[in-house]
Symmetry: C2
Subunit: 226 residues, 2 copies
DNA sequence: ACCTGAACACCGTTCAAGT
DNA sequence: ACCTGAACACCGTTCAAGT
């Protein structure tokens, strides 16, 4: 009952931190207001003093996580700096597997998100890219600017009811997929993200592909009003 | 009561079609089993004869929508063929604004998704790209292969409680974002997807950036075991 | 004025009672 | 055996009754 017990006084960041811990531990679908309140040793309604509702809770969680993205040191070479910054974002957000779904479900920007976007944009502009090109390459980066892999392609194939098929039949029906899956198997790589795929390597491949393309456009003095 | 009334006999595709219509009309969050049953003039439990549960319903909706992607004609030039196929996917999925969220929430592939992936992969392989490179470029395409814009960057800025700020203060806090927003304003473009952004143009810019980069790698006989 | 338990309005889905 | 209404086990959130 006393304030000196194991019960600390509630605050918004304490609520958000507990929510993050819960989502980290048991997944986003396990996060609910009642359980979160129980975890904090308070009655559910007590949470609503610190968050307006569940949407606000999710906004706050993202705000904290995005705010932790490391402001990487700058070398003056924009391509390297952008690369480092995005890989830093990836390190931060990968620690919270739920962050991708929550980020993508947000409809409004938070200050920390805007700050990250502003910083990334500044790296391009300071590198000499025009505002026009920078605007376009920011769009081209898309959600990859947060360091997410686009894991949909790597999702597991089967478990469909109408799929009453031996797994041996899959290569017959989808021979091209089988071919590239075989190619990915060849090297003895750590299997992660997909069958035989190195998720980090795939991410960096895609990022470098984009960055190199941007560099080429910049060198060509690309403009949208062609 | 008679089967000749306005009540047609229920089937899986009729359930799925009604669910798609509902999500198209009022958004994904408005889709629920009870309301869907009401719409179809049946009792909620009747749906469970045709879909195992709500997850299965969502799987089926995606299956139908992805199955409608046009199998575009082939010219023999892989870059052009991939471009056309992806823009066809975009046309199909853009008709259903909920499809992005549902697709990305799926953890297992459905047959129609595998068929689309297999077809797209085949365009690269038939174009002469190695299985190794094709595997990597499929990852690099990521969810853009479905034609989604990565709209997170274009989300609306404000509506944060701690953001007690005149909107005039935003350019001061995020000058780089203001600079590229100004650049996007310049031409008299149809505003869509973001402030002053042409969503379709941005999508094609990013797609072409990727395709051109892939072409360069292919010309260089790129391999992952460098 | 503040806190909080019960209650409300929803869900997806189970289950048992009816036919 | 099949269908279906009621019920169950959850939600997020409101609200009114306590202090």
């Amino acid at each position: 009952m006393s304030t000196s017990g194991r019960r600390e006084t509630l605050s918004r960041v304490r609520v958000l931190a507990a929510a993050i811990a819960q989502a980290d531990a048991d997944g986003l679908e396990s996060l609910n207001m009642r359980g979160l309140a129980h975890e904090l040793g308070v009655v559910p309604m007590a949470l609503y003093k610190h968050v307006a509702n569940k949407e606000d809770l999710l906004d706050g969680m993202i705000e904290l996580v995005v705010g932790e993205i490391e402001a990487t040191a700058r070398t003056g070479r924009w391509k390297q700096d952008v690369r480092a910054r995005i890989l830093a974002a990836r390190r931060s957000l990968q620690r919270h597997p739920w962050s991708r779904a929550v980020l993508e479900s947000r409809s409004a920007m938070t200050p920390a998100m805007l700050a990250y976007l502003n910083g990334l944009t500044g790296l391009f502009l300071d590198g000499g890219l025009s505002a026009d090109l920078t605007h376009h390459v920011m769009h081209a980066l898309g959600n990859r600017m947060w360091g997410f892999s686009q894991e949909l392609f790597a999702a597991t194939p089967p478990t469909d009811p109408s799929f009453n098929t031996q797994k041996d039949e899959l290569p017959m029906r989808f021979p091209h997929l089988a071919a590239i899956a075989r190619a990915a198997m060849h090297p003895d790589r750590p299997s992660q993200g997909g069958p035989g795929c190195d998720d980090q390597a795939e991410f960096e491949f895609a990022l470098d592909l984009l960055l190199d393309g941007m560099e080429t456009l910049h060198a060509q003095n690309w403009t949208s009003i062609a």
